[in-house]
């Protein structure tokens, strides 16, 4: 009897955890802003609501770690079980709306062969960059030469836009997210969304 009880607790725990998180209602989608994607299409920040979303910020002219950054995300994506991968969306937001136009973002997407049915490269309006960085716990600073100094982090949002995980350091963050997606029992896997 005790054993069954224990098993029950162990089975139930992941559910109760994910419920507790959504009950707090810290959805980033409460922040409203318009984004423009690589096709020049305008959309709300919550464009991927209903899907777990991997979000990260970048700027296209960064020649040191940004190419690496997309590779890390692609590798993370490839490690996911295909059933999960189909549900996941990936949203990359530019720090640099002055330079990262739809044309630039489209080129970058093609260069890296990104699956644009699941990936979006977007730029926000100039006045909303810092808000988005603040919401995603990014530290960034424009440099005199036009580039940016910034932390590299990856954030995982649940279907409602609540942060499930956010971690600095690309490689570690990507590994953590793969692990979380393996373990986490999302409502979508039960067909609730």
């Amino acid at each position: 009897m005790k054993i069954i009880f224990l098993i029950l607790i162990i089975l139930i725990t992941p559910f109760s955890l994910s419920w507790a998180q959504t009950v707090q209602g810290n959805s980033l989608y409460d922040y409203q802003t318009i984004l423009t994607d690589q096709d020049g299409k305008q959309m709300d920040f919550n464009v991927f609501q209903g899907h777990p979303v991997v979000v990260s910020m970048f700027y296209a002219s960064c020649d040191y770690s940004c190419p690496l950054f997309i590779d890390v995300l692609k590798k993370m994506d490839s490690k996911l079980d295909s059933k999960i991968r189909d549900k996941i969306r990936i949203l990359l937001i530019s720090f640099d709306p002055a330079h990262d136009t739809s044309v630039v973002l489209y080129k970058l997407a093609k260069q890296h062969h990104l699956d644009l049915s699941r990936w979006k490269l977007v730029f926000p309006s100039k006045n909303h960059v810092r808000d988005l960085a603040a919401l995603l716990n990014y530290t960034y600073r424009p440099l005199p030469d036009g580039g940016f100094n910034h932390t590299s982090a990856i954030t995982l949002l649940d279907e409602r836009g609540v942060i499930l995980h956010s971690e600095e350091g690309l490689q570690n963050a990507a590994n953590s997210i793969v692990e979380i997606l393996k373990k986490q029992n999302f409502p979508f896997m039960k067909g609730t969304l």
Partner: protein
Amino acid sequence: MNQFLMIMLGLSLTMMNCHSGDPIEAILTDAPNVPPPIKRNYPAKIIAHLEVKEVTRPIADGVDYTFWTFGGHVPGKFIRVRQGDTVEFHLQNHPDNKMPHNIDLHAVTGPGGGATSSFTAPGHESQFTFKALNKGLYIYHCATAPVGMHVANGMYGLILVEPPEGLPPVDKEYYIVQGDFYTVGKYREKGLQPFDMQKAIEENATYVLFNGSEGALVGDKAIKAKVGETVRLFIGNGGPNLISSFHVIGEVFDKVFTEGGTRYQENVQTTLVPAGGSAIVEYKAEIPGTYILVDHSIFRAFNKGALGMMKVEGDENKAMYSGKEVDSVYLADKAEQTQAIAQAAAASKKGTLTKEMQIEAGKNLFMGTCSTCHQNNGIGIPGVFPPLANSDIVNGWDKQKLIAAILNGLSGPIKVNGRDYNSTMPPMSQLNDDEVAHILTFVLNSWENKGGVVDTEEVKVVREATLRPPGAAK
């Protein structure tokens, strides 16, 4: 087969439940107390909550300082875990605090010893988890910019990682951490004293203290043991700058686990404790009496406060020791002194102060402050330090001039009892008005001097009439 699997599963689940399933809230203690030894024979998940508080409290009698603390006191709370334990650490930064803080535990293997994961704004909490891989006694401290200042304000403590088999049982365990402090005012200068960054950079400590305040381990607060008991001291040194030469007067350490590590040395008189390091000291209390704990860089003990006491109670053992207490010499200017002075201070407040009380308090203040130069019997040293006994200056000058000499010092050529002197007496303005009055009353009524009384008001008037450079004691 199925049944067998179920049993195996059940077994492993039960084991998980008892071994690492139930997290244990860590017992944390304030110095000089140590949490009880760990009786567990398996690694567990430990949850530790440590709250950072910025508090203003006495650093010495009549002197306040704003300490930054792990848990409200200096040193921070003692943490005790077992090797192999997984520690879920919660660092809480109290909402009333002004500064962000973090924690670097030297017991942690990982970037910054936890500092990167625990950086916390006021009114917030950080959580990180580490595995206690190495046994030993480790310092923890704050590592927020400016690191030196956070440490100098008292942000350090000890974490003990016990070996799986535990430490050998002893009768008493105590927790003592030395630290150096830097204040704008000089040693024992009254009032709220701010941190002095220049002195800290120059490593010119105003105070060197055990457990964060002068008197934290003396009188009623002395650590205690009975004859025949084995005592274990967990010694840390928070720094920020000074290395401690830790010594207990009249005691030989049977064992010292140097630098808090695995091996021990035997029969040690004095052990070095590095800044940001530790030592475990064990000895048997053999002879009753009061034992003095010092940093044997000895000016720190008698002029900067690095002094504590251990009281051993029990029957005398004449075969081992003849009976004259070792502390009588050292305590002449400490323990007895404070009693007479405290009595005088209380009487002064109540308005029942007598000349006799003043003389008694003055005598105790004189011994230890003035007697260094003027000698216990007031005769001074001919040609170097002028005499106060039967002195034409003491008997010839008016009270105002005598008070001013103490408050402002004296330097340059002077003739006393027919002999020429030319040296410098430093200003003693750190003494409060009561203390100056007591000392002068004592001097006037000793060694065939003319007699009389100096009261607090008279000192106050002279002090207020004297201009002082900015930053000096008033």
